[in-house]
Amino acid sequence: MVMEGAASPAGSPRNTEGVGISCQSVSAGYLGSPVLREISFAIDKPGIYVVLGPNGAGKTTLFRTLSGILRPYQGNVLIDGLPIDRQQSRNRLHYLSHADGLPEGLTVREALDLYAQLERATSADVDRVLDLVNVRELSDRFLPQLSAGQKKRVSVARLFLQDRAIYLLDEPTANLDPKMAREIRTLILDLSREKIVLYSSHNLFEAREIGRYVLAIKNGRLALFDRIENLRGTHFVVGVRVLEPSEALTGWSREGDYFLRELPGPEAVPAFIRDLESRGVQIRELREMNNPLEDLFT
């Protein structure tokens, strides 16, 4: 499976040794028990690559292995062709764990100063990210005084201290309110124009909205690596919301205000709308009711 020159699983004749991130038959886990089994893929073009999978599938383990925190039991992780255990490789990555990882005993400003030191960023960079993720007013507060969402914002701020080629983001919008989650997604989308972003989320609508590719992990194995737009659900169900009740919809199953109908696929939608209108149905809204990404969890 070759992804139009943007990303490909290993075994493809390209990309396994070049620029970007390459995972070659990697098995990894905890205390000798493998969680990931022979995962292989290669990514060399910018974009958001959404990592999906049910709880316990191995998403976090994949991020920890790609970032060099866990050592693979077998196989190799290469960053720009160099093994991940080389410092040069690590210095090309940004990693955001699902845990905030903020050092207690410091104020927000001091914590970001510490990470700026580790990133070889400057005090001016800290000032910039304080404004970027809207935590300037929190800068003198000690970390235990922050809410979970505020901590997440500070944690996300670290990502923008220094420019990196590859971003590994494990649930970056968890615990954030919708407004802040949207702002962070926008920042990440901007990043993805020039960077490789691996992004895990349990929010399938978010994943579909921002993702360009999907890597699905099931039982520790790479079950799918494809463009999100190529994914088709096993069922294509649309919901119709109407202005006035109509006899034409009698007998249709319902979900809330929506009358449901299964269609062969998105290409059948225009004819479906014409048919409803010809029968006098006044359509207020029509939407796809299921998300094809849901099928990756079954």
Binding site: G5, A6, V19, G20, Y30, L31, D44, K45, P46, R64, S67, G68, I69, L70, R71, D80, R86, Q87, Q88, R90, N91, R92, L93, Y95, S97, A99, D100, G101, L102, P103, E104, G105, L106, L114, Y115, Q117, L118, R120, Q162, D163, R164, A165, R193, E194, K195, I196
Partner: protein, 247 residues
Amino acid sequence: MIPTLTAGSATSEGPPSLLGITIRRSMVLGRFFLVYGTGISVLLGVVLGLVSRSSFAAAFPLLLPIFASVGSMGGLAVFTSDRLKGTLEYFMAYGFSPRRLFLNFLTATLVLVSIVVSVGLGVGVGLYLARGNAFTPGLAVAFGLYAVPMSFASAAFAATMGMYWSALSSPRAGMNSPIGLAPFIGILPPVTTLFIVVALGASGATTSVTTFYAIAVAVMALVVVFVVLLLALINRFLRRERLLSPA
């Protein structure tokens, strides 16, 4: 057109030292222990110095390591907090090895010990001298051969055991946590020394000051060897996944 990948800075330099900030955080997170250990050491020095010259010379060097060990718990407090909150995970992603992280927290612990010992000794001995007492060779030996090295050995023992314990066990709170129990671990070396001396005396063996120092030096040597051994075996017993947040 598909945009090309732009690289960030990718030096081959390792991550910079965390020691300065770790010492500072140890003082903040372990402030109760630091204030308590230093305060009791000073109080002890003042009270014993006021009671009599012999009381100070006999008891102060013996008790100082206990409170120095208690006062240095901040290093372990930071390690435990960083593990639980996932901060160690970030540090490893930046390229810190588990051994380097351990040494960082251990060094911070030893800096805290030096604060307690310096303040305790400074105030205690200063007051002792101010009262017209002489700093005898016996007192110098008591501090140089027992109180100071035993303070560092006990604190290193407590911190190393506590870090191993914290990394190898599930998170616990309160007195049953590594932080709750480490002070008791820290007093083991001086208490063991005293116990051996008392046991020898009770068994009818002749004990002298020389015997006491010989036993103390032997206990300290054992403790140092044990700590060095644990540090050497970090890669074997404390694999990287042991330092990850359990959350």
